[in-house]
Structure formats: C-alpha cells, structure tokens
Symmetry: C2
C-alpha cells in the first residue's frame, strides 16, 4: 500500500527533518523578525516543487475584516508564505496551517541551552518555537515531502500556509484567508500532544474601569473608595462566569471545572495609602465558548457590569466602564460527526494503533479565523508539549514530530484522494 512507502520515507528522513527544524529555530522569528525564517521555508517549498506565494499582509486589506486585531500599524517586512501542491483534480482540498512567529525567549538565564540554538539532545530539539509550533510545521512539510518522494499523486490541492502574527491575534492567517486561500478542510498542528481538539475556546481581553472619589484617609467617609466599588464589580463578574458556565452542556467539557473562565488577571488602583482611591482598573481575559459569537460575549460582559452599576447608588451615577483591548482569539468548533473528523481519527489510528483522544482546548488558535472567516472545517492536532509553549527550555520530542508527520501523510492520502 502506498502509505507504507510514505511512512518508510519519513522514518529514513528523520535526520534531515530535525536539521530543518533546527534551522527554523535558529531564525529567531519574534514579531517583526519573520523574514529570515520564511526564507528557509520558501527554500524548502521550492525544493519540493510547490507553487510559492510570498507577500507582506496589507493593513488596509486586513482592516476590512471585523476579526482584525490591529497588533501593529504595518506588516511590511513580515511576509506570509503559502506553498500549493496542485492536485490532479476531483479530490478534496486541504489547508495545512502553521504559524512561524514565536513569543520572545524571556529571561535567558532560565534556559539550559541558547533559546535559538535548535540544539538536539537525547531525542529532543530545544529552543523557542520548537513546540509552538515550528515542530508541527516540519511534520506537515515532511508529510508533503513523503508523498512527493514516494510518487503518490493527490487528487485534491494541498495548501501549506506559513503565517505570521498568530501570537498577537492572527493577522497572518486572516491575511491568507482574505487573499482567497480556501479549502474543504484545514488542520493546524499546534502542540496538543497529538490529542485532537475539535473545539477551541476563544478569548478576548477586557478592561473594567471603576471610578471613586478621592478624600483624605482620615475622613475617608467624605470620599468613595473605587477599591470597594471594584470589589462589587469583581464579584458580579465571578457570578457572570458561573452563569455562563452553567449553560455549557457539551459533554466534551464535562471534566473541565470552568469550561470558559473569566480570568481577572490584573488590578490596579489608588495612588497613595492615605488617600481614598478614585480609580481602579481590572484587566482580564474572557473565554468564548466554541458555539458563541465574539460580539454576544462582549454584550453579556457589558450588561453584567451595567447591571451591578445600576444596583449601587454611587455606580448608578458613575457606572463602571468596559473596554475590549489587545489580542483576541476567535473560537472554533467542528462536530464529531463531521467527515473530516472521521478521516482524522482513522489516520491517527492507522499510525498509533489506538484511538485519538478528543478534547476541547482551553485556548484559541488561528482555527477560529479559518472557521469563521474562511468557512473551513478546521481541526487542531499536533506534536509537542503544550505545557512547554512560551516557557524556558521549550523542546519537542523528535519521535512525536515524526509520528505526526505520518498521521498527516496518511490524512492527505485519505482526504485528498490518490491517483493509481
């Protein structure tokens, strides 16, 4: 059978895949510095004979979308790269999407190896981006390569997307989708430890501003403590979190204590111990359920804060204000009954000889944009240690990356169809 040939190819080309990953990691592709790494990707795509499309996302195009998070004013010098393997026709197409940007390395003293060394030790590749998610990208490239080099001709198109800006809200994937790249399905190999996330939680950042009235601490009854009022708002938001989560009946979430948390992560207010605080801000992240629209969640949080304001004599006249700022991730969902899920399950089992574990992710990916903007059924499954993402000594197991490559190779055969 053709897949065994591809699988063997993958096994015998592990070393060059590891080398490619090291080269990708050595290009420190933090926000604004993606050109070097994309040059490596382009070289690889060209060597495979794919049609390559390289462009800097345009702000004016992105700005036409409601889903655009303006993480910067200008994307010049930060190219997206797409490589297309044209099928022979008559098959289903697929997008293989992976982001190439990485978060900064943080405190270098916490790293055992240089964060941009791509060093290989005991079957692991170390460095920023190994697990999140250059390792997954290499799995996809190796899958494509295994088919080409094994002489397997797919019917459907394979669109490989190496996108920027996932870590800052998804402008890269949004740009690729607005440029017209669509397919019958998509996968994003974010590090899930090869669990299959058929649903992903979205999220938004918010800021609540609570006003008080200053006074000297010795006569604090002449003022109004913004801290006391912020406590009211804080408690009301916790109650909203409880109500929102009580509504969730999806069995996928049955073991999750709080499926869509509202995290109030930062509080700041007052300027002097002996003055009454006249302003407090709370900043947080509100989770968006896979079935929800971003806008309805915004409305619900605003209504909650307005409600508690109406119940307090001071806040009634000085209502707490809600803004949404910073990054956002759009949720995504695919029902387990969707054919693409079936093909993915089958492909996983063929390689791992056990059923894939299906979950909903507690964080967002670019899958929300592929789903909502592109209308593309999208799944998240990839190699790598979820818990190492964004941490010092980030690494990926070579064995996992190779396993994933085989699953993707099999998936392409099953989904796109092959010619004899």
């Amino acid at each position: 059978m053709s897949f065994s040939k591809a699988s063997n190819y993958i096994d015998s080309n592990t070393a060059s895949a590891v080398e490619l990953l090291s080269r990708l990691v050595q290009q420190a592709s933090t926000q604004g510095n993606e050109q070097g790494v994309q040059a490596v990707v382009i070289e690889k795509l060209k060597s495979l004979g794919l049609e390559v499309d390289v462009w800097d996302p345009e702000y004016s195009v992105l700005a036409t979308s409601l889903y655009f998070v303006p993480s910067r004013n200008n994307f010049g010098g930060s190219p997206n790269v797409v490589g297309v393997l044209k099928g022979t026709g008559g098959g289903k197409s697929i997008i293989l999407n992976g982001h190439i940007d990485v978060v900064p390395e943080g405190d270098r003293t916490k790293w055992t190896h240089d964060p941009f060394s791509g060093k290989v030790v005991d079957g692991r590749v170390y460095g920023r981006g190994t697990t999140d998610m250059k390792g997954g990208n290499v799995s996809m490239l190796l899958a494509i390569e295994s088919l080409i080099r094994s002489g397997i001709r797919l019917k459907g198109d394979v669109i490989f997307e190496s996108v920027i800006e996932e870590e800052s809200g998804g402008a890269g994937t949004l740009a690729a989708t607005l440029r017209g790249y669509k397919a019958d399905a998509a996968i994003i190999p974010e590090p899930t430890n090869m669990k299959l996330f058929i649903k992903q939680q979205g999220s938004m950042w918010f800021r609540v501003t609570v006003e008080g009235r200053s006074a000297h601490g010795g006569t604090r009854y002449e003022g109004v403590s913004a801290i006391e009022k912020a406590v009211l708002v804080h408690q009301a938001i916790l109650q909203l979190e409880a109500r929102r989560n009580a509504r969730i009946t999806d069995p996928l979430y049955k073991n999750i204590p709080i499926p869509v948390p509202i995290n109030m992560g930062k509080i700041q207010g007052g300027s002097w111990p002996s003055s009454v605080a006249d302003l407090v801000t709370i900043e947080g992240r509100i989770g968006v359920a896979p079935s929800e629209e971003m806008e309805e969640v915004r409305k619900e949080l605003r209504a909650c804060v307005q409600d508690i304001s109406n119940q307090d004599p001071w806040l009634k006249d000085h209502p707490a204000k809600v803004e949404f700022f910073g990054a956002q991730w759009v949720p995504n969902a695919l029902e387990e009954t969707h054919p693409f899920v079936g093909v993915m399950k089958k492909s996983f089992e063929a390689v791992y000889q056990k059923p894939v574990r299906i979950e909903a992710s507690p964080w967002g990916t670019d899958g929300g944009l592929l789903g909502k903007v592109g209308g593309i059924p999208t799944l998240i499954i990839g190699p790598g240690e979820t818990r190492m993402a964004h941490y010092p000594d980030e690494y990926i197991e070579v064995k996992e990356m190779i396993g994933a490559a085989k699953v993707f190779s099999r998936l392409l055969i099953e989904w796109c169809g092959t010619n004899p």
Copy 2:
C-alpha cells in the same frame, strides 16, 4: 489691664508680622532644605532677646526612641531651633511648637501666584506653608513679642520650638523632646481654623501582601487568584474597621461617621490579563484612636489578617502578610477637664467673645510625640484654612493670624502667670 496693651501692640504690628510670614514662605523649606528658613527664625528670636539653641537632630539619638520614624538616614544641615524666654520663676512653663518644614508645591501650573512668593493679596498671604504652618508660627512669635514689648514679665518659661520633619513623621519634635525640652503644657498651632482639637487621631501606614498561584487564564482553575484572596482580606479589614469604630464612645466623635477609619488606598496585583494573579498588595492607613497605643493597633490588624487567613483553605497555608511602613503619627488626647483646656477656653473667649469649638482631629500632629514621649499636656489650635493645607494656592487670612496671636498672648499671661 496688661493684656490690652499686648493686644494693642499686636494690632499695630500686623504689617511687620505679615512681612515676617512672607520672608518665612520665601524660604522654600521642603524636606532637607530647612536651613534658610531657620536662619530667619534665629534672627527673629535673637532680636527678641531669647536664648537660642540650634542643632541638627542626630540619628543615633532619635533611634533610641520607639517612636522614631526613620524618614532619612541623616539630618545634617536640617537644624531644629529652640528659643527660650526665661520666666522669673514660680509660674507654669509652656512649649509653643510649630513645624517649619513644608510639603512640596506640586504642580506649579495650578498656582495663581508663585508658591514661594509669600504674596499678600486682599488680606491674605499666599504660598506653600502659609497655613501649614508658618502662619501659626508667626502668631506665636508675635504673641511672645507683644508681651516683651509691652513690658509684661512672665513667671513661667516659654519654650518656642521651630522643628523640622513634621510632614515625614515627627523627627524634629522627637529630637527636641529627647534633648530635654519639657514643659507643663504645649500648644501646636496647626491650621484648625481656630477650633480647639483636644484629641487627635493617630495613624500608620500598612501593606498587606496576598499570595496566589499563577496559571494560564484559560485554565484558571489550575491556579489560585491572589485578587480573589485579596478581596477576602479587604472585606475582613472593613469588618475590623466596623468593630474598632463600634468601640468608640467618646461623645466628641458622635457626629463622625467613621472616627478611626481604615483606608485601603492602593491596590496592585497581577501582571497580565490572561494569567492568574499570583501576588496582590493593598496599602493603606489605619487610624489610631486618641486612647490607643500604636502597638495594640498593629497587633489588632495583624490578628485580623491572620484570622481571615485561617478561614481559607489556600490562605491557611499561604497566609496574607502585614507590614507597617512609611510615616506614622502618634495619637494624643487631653481631657476637657484638664486645667490647660480651661485656660485655653478662657483665652479664646477673651479675644473672640464666643466659646471655642472643641473637636477631635481626624489626623495626627506632633502633639502625639509631645504627649507620649514628653508627657506634656498638648492642645492643637491655630489659624489657617485646614482644607488649603497641601493644596495649590494655599493661603492664610491675616486677620486670623492676628486673632490667634492675641489668643496665644492671653494664654501665656494666664498660664505662665505675670509679675506686677
């Protein structure tokens, strides 16, 4: 009668008193910059023929006192000045204490006149320190001068203290007291609008630190929110405030909504909207009742925070911590039945033809140090707009300063006794 002569002297020497105040204001005596203003005070005391003592408070001496707030490491170049008018003997002595330091002028654009001009407009002297409290100091000096120039010889000693560092916790008054300056009574003409504060609230600054455990906001149930735990501590401290105030039965406080407030003025915690906050600090000011000891109040706040920590499963193992930091003001009290209060009431009535209004102040003064360290019965009464202290366009009414001088002149006659 002798007082009418002194009173007439005060009236006819208003202009020179105003000139003296302007000169004092023109010496911007913020912390560390007191030498210039003290030179003017020394010149004045010498012109009146008083014995003058000038010294820089010594840290090592101050450090022997439990009441020392180490506002700086070194008081070199920041002299205290004391002038003594020896009595003829057989009378009661008095300390006239006034601080010569001022708080910074703040944003100069908010001032109509230069904050250090000492400009006189429509019967008011403008500038930083006019009301808090160089105006009161001039009232005292004018009172002494009126007696000397009217040939009135007192039996008891008059000790005039021009002290530094009141705005930062009282090292000047503490140094004068430790140097041995004691008397049978003391007044401090802080700006009370000539109300008589027989009791003064003390205060301390505190910081509560509440620990949590960080986690990603999407799985916030894996962490512990320091903000949620800080809310528990905040509510417990509000309950402590209620209990502390319920104990206060002094009729002087019957119209004060919260006689000894606990003001939580500043809150700060967490570093990222989508992370669980792992540390929150609350900074505040706890009022100390006139009848209380500083240490018992410290203990009570510590016990309250320990109590609430014991009641929470997380805080039990990670108890919230209390520290006391920054400035403190020791409370003070004199019963209305004390003879000095009687003499003060009489002196006020003689000048103003109406009873003096008796209150407890919501803030501390150096009176606590005179009372607790020196064992000196101390009253607070002085000219000036309380609400203008520390504000832009600070001013004092010349009329009030002159009225106060007459009250003090009369008080010295009544308290110290006179020779025929």
